[in-house]
Symmetry: none
Subunit: 131 residues, 4 copies
Amino acid sequence: MYDIDPSRSEPLFQQIVAAVKRDVATGRLRPGDRLPTVRESALDLVVNPNTIAKAYRVLEAEGVTVSRRGAGTFIAPHRPTTSRRERVRAFREALDEALADAVHRGLTRAEAERAIESALKRFRFGSEEKP
Amino acid sequence: MYDIDPSRSEPLFQQIVAAVKRDVATGRLRPGDRLPTVRESALDLVVNPNTIAKAYRVLEAEGVTVSRRGAGTFIAPHRPTTSRRERVRAFREALDEALADAVHRGLTRAEAERAIESALKRFRFGSEEKP
Amino acid sequence: MYDIDPSRSEPLFQQIVAAVKRDVATGRLRPGDRLPTVRESALDLVVNPNTIAKAYRVLEAEGVTVSRRGAGTFIAPHRPTTSRRERVRAFREALDEALADAVHRGLTRAEAERAIESALKRFRFGSEEKP
Amino acid sequence: MYDIDPSRSEPLFQQIVAAVKRDVATGRLRPGDRLPTVRESALDLVVNPNTIAKAYRVLEAEGVTVSRRGAGTFIAPHRPTTSRRERVRAFREALDEALADAVHRGLTRAEAERAIESALKRFRFGSEEKP
DNA sequence: GTGGTCTAGACCACA
DNA sequence: GTGGTCTAGACCACG
C-alpha cells in the first residue's frame, strides 16, 4: 500500500504515520475508513507488527485515528484543536526548512512555484471560516 | 544567536544545521562569512561543544561550509550539484509533509497561501538561467 | 439509556458496568429493579450482545445484580462484605488517581472542592451505624 | 522507588505513569527533576526496559516529562492546556466512578469525607486564578 | 480475529 | 551512558 523505505534514516513507524496523514489530508482516506489490520500491514510492508502497532498508536495519539480492540483502526472525524497562531507558526517552520533545503539544492523560484501550485491542489484544506 | 530548543524532539545538532542553512538560503549569511568558533557557539547556545562540532561537520559534508584549518569555518560558495529531478522530488516530499501536517492542524487554504507567499519572498533562489 | 462511547479507551463492557454501578450507588436503580435484557440493551446501546453479556456477568460476579433464570437480571440487595480497611484503601487509591490527573489538567482547589461537594450529595452511602 | 504490582490488571506501564503523575501532583517531583534512567528503573522495578521506556513515552506525550536522548528524562514545567469545562468534567467522571465503587464496598459518608479531606491536603493544586 | 501488553535482545543516534 | 528503534515471539483482553 505505502512505499516504506527501511534505508531512509526516518524511522519506519514515522514514515507510516506520515503516509497515513498525507492520505487523510488529501482525501484518499476519509473519516470512518478502516485501516488494514496490524497484521495485514505488517505482511504488506514487510515490517514487524509491533512497528505497525506503534505507528497506529502515534496516529491515535495525534487524533488522526481511533483504534478499537477487537474491531480495528479507523480514521477519526476531523477535529483540529490548535490555535490559528500555532498552526501558522508550525507551517511556516516546516515550510522554511523545506525551502532552505531546496535553495541549497539549487531549486529555482519557478520550480518552487510550480511544485507548490501542484501540491496545493492535492490537499483538502479545512473550511475557510476564520476563528 | 539561534533559538535552539532542547525540548523539541529534533536533535540539537540538526536544529543548528537547519538554522544555518536557512540563514544561508535567505541571505543572512553569505559566502565567505565566518561562523563563530565551536567554543563560542557552545557558550552562546548553552550546548555541548560536541554538538556544535557535529553540526559543523554535517554542514561541511553537505557543502554549505568549508573549514580552513586554523582560520575557522566559513560559508562556502554555492555550488548545487543535484539534478533537477532530484531537487524537485526532495522539495515536493518536504512540501507534502508540511502541508499534510498543516491540514491536520486545521490550516485553511488562505492561511497556507499567505504563509507561502511570504516565505517565497524571504529566500534567495538560484538564477533562473542554468537548468 | 447510557452514553457509551466506543472511542474511549475504557472497554465498552467496563463503561456499562460503571454506569450501572453508578446508578445503583446514586439510587437511580434500586434493589429489585430489573435491568433490560441483553438483547434490548444491545439494540439500545448499539453494541455487540456479547459485550452486554460480559458486563452483566461482571456485575453479577461483583454482587451488584442477581440473574434469575427465565426472569431476567435484577439489582441485588446491598450486602457489602469488604473490611473497613480494604474499602478505605481502595477509595483512597481511586481518589488519588483522580486528583493527580485533575491537578495535571490544572484544576484548582476550589474547583475540586465544589465538584466533590456536589458529588457527595448525589450518592447514597450506607448507614453510619454498622462498622 | 515505586510499588509496581504485576498481578494487578492495570498494565505495568500505566501503573508507572500514574505513580509519576501522582508524585508530580503532590510535589514529590518538581519541574526540572530528573527521573531515574530507563535502565535503572528497569532493574529497580524488575520489569523490561521497554516497559519503562513506554511509560516515559506516555508521560512525555501527556506533557508531564521531556526526554532528551543522551541526557535523560526530566519533569517538564507545568503548562495545563485543558479548558475549565473539560478539566471539571473529567474530574467529576473519575470522582463519580471512585464514589460509586466505594458505596458498593460499603463506605460510609464519614469515611469518604475523611479520606477526601486527607487527600486534598496532599495535592498541590494550581494557582486559583479563574480563567 | 482484533488490538494491547510484555519480554528479550540487538543496534543505533545523541550528548 | 542516555533514550529510541526494531525484531521476534508469547500471551492477553476485547468484541
